[in-house]
Amino acid sequence: MRTRTLVQCGAVTLGIIGVLTVAPAGVAAQTRAEIADAARKASPRTAEEAATFFEAEVARKTAAAIARVYDPTRPPTPVKKTPWGHPDLRGYWLSLSYTPLERPAEFADKALLTPQEAIEFFKKAVVEDAAVDPATVHYDWKEFGMDTWQSPVRPNRRSGLIIDPANGKLPPLSPEGQRRRAAAQAAGKGVDPQTAVSTLNNFYTRCITGNQGPPRLPFNHDSESQIFQTPNYVLLITQSNNDVRIIPLDGRPHVPQEVRPWLGDSRGRWEGNTLVVETTNFHPDRLWRGATGNMNLIERFTRVDDNTISYQITVSDPAQWAQPWTAEIPWPRIEPPLFEFACHEQNYGVINVVTGAQIRATEGKPAARDGDN
């Protein structure tokens, strides 16, 4: 979890950490272990001392969270309305969760945990997340209060976020998806795409988009967002890269297919108390989890209580997956405001990521793992 986070945040404010990408086990593993050992020896604090430092905060945060287990079987509370009569989704919301996208093997037959099991799973994840390795402490988000466990993240009775297919797993690739993946692997063989900005396929590191999709999966930093409503529009504004999605509610058709925004083209409508947003016309280079620009996304936003939005996504793209898949992520409410996120303006990270990859290539070292945005 820690290493994945470090890989992904290369582009942002803590751009200098972009070079700390993690090599796959193998050739570089020994070197990396040696470097980490040296850093631990040089650290003024041991791991145990560091853990003690955060102990009280961990206990406080855990206690607050376990009183708020998300239970998808609970009926929604009566819905607040805006002055113009729409369900009121306005406010600031956080897309973070310890629940994995795919149901873990240990819960293969258990889509829904008991509240007690959910709490145990959550506690374990928090303790693991809050652990401090002196080798990485200077690049650790918790010093800035930005670790997941320091947010209003909540336990979830779901054992995985995917609710369809029923096994909680991503559907298999379609035949075309398999063919496309094989072709991409063949084309990229022997070349590390991170050695040039033009081939770097992480658009977050390049500051072309933030790390919040669409759709938004809860595995990243800067997961704060604002929902802003008027009678005719809903705006979805994310902290990450300040991506803004403008969603008209007037039933107008999508833009012609020649128009391909990086964030897609969104249209919204109210179905009872749920905001349903359909997004199409994605940019063909985007390849979100391997999907093409023709990916279709349905998002369903329901305020299930004052402090929670149920965010449900259904993703389909026959060129990638054999069938559509659906996931549900609970969003806890957070305090305002959002801040300016001038990513490209000071993208030191991309310089370091590409420079590092070029040096690794020159030295014959294996490529770093890319983030999975």
């Binding site: 002055p83 072309i208 529009y233 300040n242 070029q358």
Partner: protein
């Protein structure tokens, strides 16, 4: 506010309010418009009785090339860009066609003009010692965002007004009746708004000093304080005024104004202008990072 009689004073007059905050006393009479514009009483109103500024707006000026009066000009690469790269001539949007620069600042503007296409990409703050930031797809700042040749959309509620600019998707949140201080320096500034009769008044500060006002090198510092006044003058036009104060750069506050035009096409919508991919080759190729060019082992 509806029906309230407010008197327009003609010449705008600035007053320092207690905390040296600059607010303007421009107070149009309901039924009268600012000087030079037809009388108009906003007919389209929100549920709380304020003029409804919602919609997609765009300036119709060449001020992004130069906010002062200027001739048409060839582009920086006429050998390949021809008429495509050339700039329109245009009238000044600055009152009196003069920016009251301090002497050093006038020289700095001239230097900026000369170096406007310098691109500096470094992994440290020296990267901001560079030419026009628009060239590199950086956020444009305020007021420039409002007269760039791209539309922008206003979303209005009583508590908050959001402005989304097609250029780069740059974003402003305007907190109504708020007095919060900017939590940090930013490209787009920190905006607090209030209604003065039928005029939306926005106090903007907290700038980082990295933005320019145009491609001609006109500039400001991190001490910039902008007061904007947005007054509807027809269902389809807003008169935009901004007063810029920056004691580090100017000798006195000065004012710009121009009309904004509403997009009325049935299918009008902002079409994303995400320019980051358009500038990567320019920014990263000179430092060997754009195409894969592995270094030679030493």
């Amino acid at each position: 506010m509806r029906g309230m009689r407010i008197r327009f004073t003609g010449a705008l007059m600035s007053v320092a309010v207690a905390s040296a905050t600059l607010w303007l006393t421009a107070t149009p009479i309901a039924g009268q418009a600012p000087a030079g514009f037809p009388a108009y009483k906003a007919a389209v109103r929100t549920a709380d009785g304020k003029p409804d500024l919602s919609g997609i707006w765009e300036a119709m000026t060449s001020a992004n090339w130069d906010i002062l009066a200027h001739s048409a000009q060839p582009g920086p690469h006429p050998q390949i860009m021809g008429a495509w790269g050339a700039g329109r001539g245009g009238q000044s949007i600055v009152e009196g066609n003069e920016i009251p620069y301090q002497p050093w600042a006038k020289a700095k503007q001239q230097e900026n003009l000369k170096n406007r296409m310098v691109v500096k990409v470094a992994a440290d703050p020296s990267r901001f010692d560079t030419g026009d930031r628009e060239l590199q797809c950086y956020r444009p700042g305020v007021p420039r965002a409002n007269y760039m040749p791209y539309p922008f959309q206003i979303f209005q509620t009583p508590e908050e007004i959001v402005m989304v600019y097609e250029y780069k998707g740059a974003l402003r949140s305007i907190y109504m009746n708020a007095t919060d201080e900017a939590p940090g320096d930013t490209w787009m500034g920190w905006s607090n708004g209030k209604w003065d009769g039928d005029t939306l008044v926005i106090d903007v500060n907290g700038f980082n000093g990295n933005t320019w006002l145009d491609r001609a090198g006109n500039f400001h510092s991190d001490a910039l304080h902008v007061v904007e006044r947005w007054t509807p003058i027809s269902p389809y036009h807003i008169r935009y005024e901004a007063t810029l104060d920056d004691p580090k750069v100017y000798t006195r506050p000065w004012k710009m104004s121009f009309p904004l035009y509403k997009h009325v096409e049935a299918n009008a919508q902002l079409v994303e202008f995400n320019c980051v991919p358009f500038v990567e080759e320019m920014m990263y190729d000179p430092i060997g990072l754009y195409r894969s060019q592995p270094r030679q082992a030493k």
